[in-house]
Amino acid sequence: MLASSQILQPVRASTIIMSFALALFLNFLPWRDLRLMPDFVALVLVFWCIRQPRLVGLGAAWALGLLTDAGNGVLLGQHALAYSILAFLGIWLSRRILWFGSGLQALHVGAILLAGQAVALLVRVVAGDGFPGWALLVGPLAGAVLWPMVSWLLLLPQRRAEREQSI
């Protein structure tokens, strides 16, 4: 059954805020090699942009990007730009992506995450940094692999309420 064919409860704002806080927390964990880790904030952002394009949009993406920039001590605006483009792609493709099953959705999300990573790379190369190696591709791909699980988890609050109603 496609995820889009289920009737879901309306999302609560607290769910969205909590998911973003959790994603920021996961991003700020002291990982050993950060290139190999998926960007959880980007993943959750893409999820909400696809699911709730009217609630989560470019403004939220930009603010989260700035927070990430300051927290990581990188150029202010690097993640803000990348997340804005991620959010735009998510909103733009949301109607299309929701028609697919979770595997094909993951492919789309992988492409979107790669685009975001490419924007960040472009910004850093223009700012005068070197290319940090092809391991950079692992993060977005890992994000795409995690997509089915993340979308299942984030839809859980809405779905559980529906099941209770049907009983």
Partner: protein, 304 residues
């Protein structure tokens, strides 16, 4: 009366328009931050906002450490204790000898009329986490402006120079490691006093001496220490050991690759050194003063 759509159809500007708005805003911020460094205030506020999440994120690791130490065995503790006691004994002997030698050195320096070495204060800090940026080698420590950390202070651990404080927020500061591509540190070969500048090697986690003459007297396993001529790093801190020397017939310069002495990617605690003692003014400033004076004199003569 004007016909406007009912309010539930209003969706604000189109996503593409919003994208242009936010992208240009980001680009403007990027340029401001990279070129002019006007955005530091905003960055400090944002960093303060992100601080609680960062602190919570490092908590599980600390908790694991605590739990691990709770279950450490008696035998291990006894062994550790004995080892540490032996180490402390050796260090205390070294310290006594050091004091005597320091007094002697100060005496000799007074005799030959050299300036006395400045006292160096140090603050212990705990490493919060490594920067999430794969393009730069940075780490974050849990001491900031409220603890008296200043930008530019050198950071060391027990075995050598780790890096330099490059940005100070209220409660934490950012340390750029010596292995970062943009970080340079003036060094001296212990064996013969040859001065050079060590640059970070980037992703390889090494240091490099670039632009060394191909016939420079430098060998494998030479130890490099800070030379102190820059007025930022105190002299004599271990920086690196020479790993290999790449000489190229086409190139007039040899490339010397070194391994950092400090555990730049290990360890939980670092020392932030600071020397608040007054230093003689930099020559540039003196030169500027002179230029200004000369300009003033010219103006005077014009007036006359």
């Amino acid at each position: 009366m004007e016909h406007s759509p009912p309010p539930f159809f209003k969706r604000g500007p189109a996503p593409l328009v919003r994208l242009f708005f936010f992208a240009s805003l980001s680009l403007a911020l990027l340029v401001i931050d990279a070129r002019f460094r006007y955005a530091e205030g905003l960055r400090s506020w944002l960093a303060l906002a992100a601080y609680p999440i960062q602190r919570i994120a490092t908590a599980p690791i600390e908790l694991l450490g605590t739990v691990g130490s709770f279950f450490s065995t008696q035998a291990q503790l006894v062994e550790d204790n004995a080892r540490l006691r032996a180490k402390a004994m050796a260090y205390s002997q070294d310290a006594q000898r050091y004091e005597a030698i320091e007094a002697e050195a100060a005496h000799l320096r007074r005799l030959i009329g050299a300036a006395e070495r400045l006292e160096v204060r140090s603050v212990t800090a705990e490493v919060l986490y490594h920067g999430r940026d794969p393009y730069a080698h940075r780490l974050f420590i849990d001491r900031g402006a409220t603890h008296g950390i200043r930008p530019g202070s050198p950071v060391t651990d027990e075995s050598g120079v780790v890096g330099q404080v490059t940005r100070v927020h209220a409660l934490l500061s950012e340390v750029t490691l010596v292995t970062d591509r943009d970080q340079a540190i003036p060094v001296q070969v212990v064996r013969n006093g040859l001065r050079a500048i060590a640059f970070g090697g980037g992703a390889s986690g090494t240091l490099e001496l670039r632009f060394m003459a191909a016939n420079a007297d430098i060998q494998g396993n030479d130890r490099l220490v800070t030379s102190g001529v820059d007025g930022t790093y105190p002299p004599g801190l271990p920086v690196a050991t020479v790993m290999r020397i790449e000489k190229d017939a086409e190139n007039a310069f040899a490339r010397v690759v070194c391994r950092p002495a400090a555990g730049v990617d290990r360890g939980r605690f670092v020392l932030v050194l600071s020397d608040d003692a007054t230093r003689p003014p930099r020559p540039e400033e003196a030169a500027k003063d002179k230029r200004e004076k000369r300009r003033g004199r010219l103006k005077d003569s014009d007036a006359r």
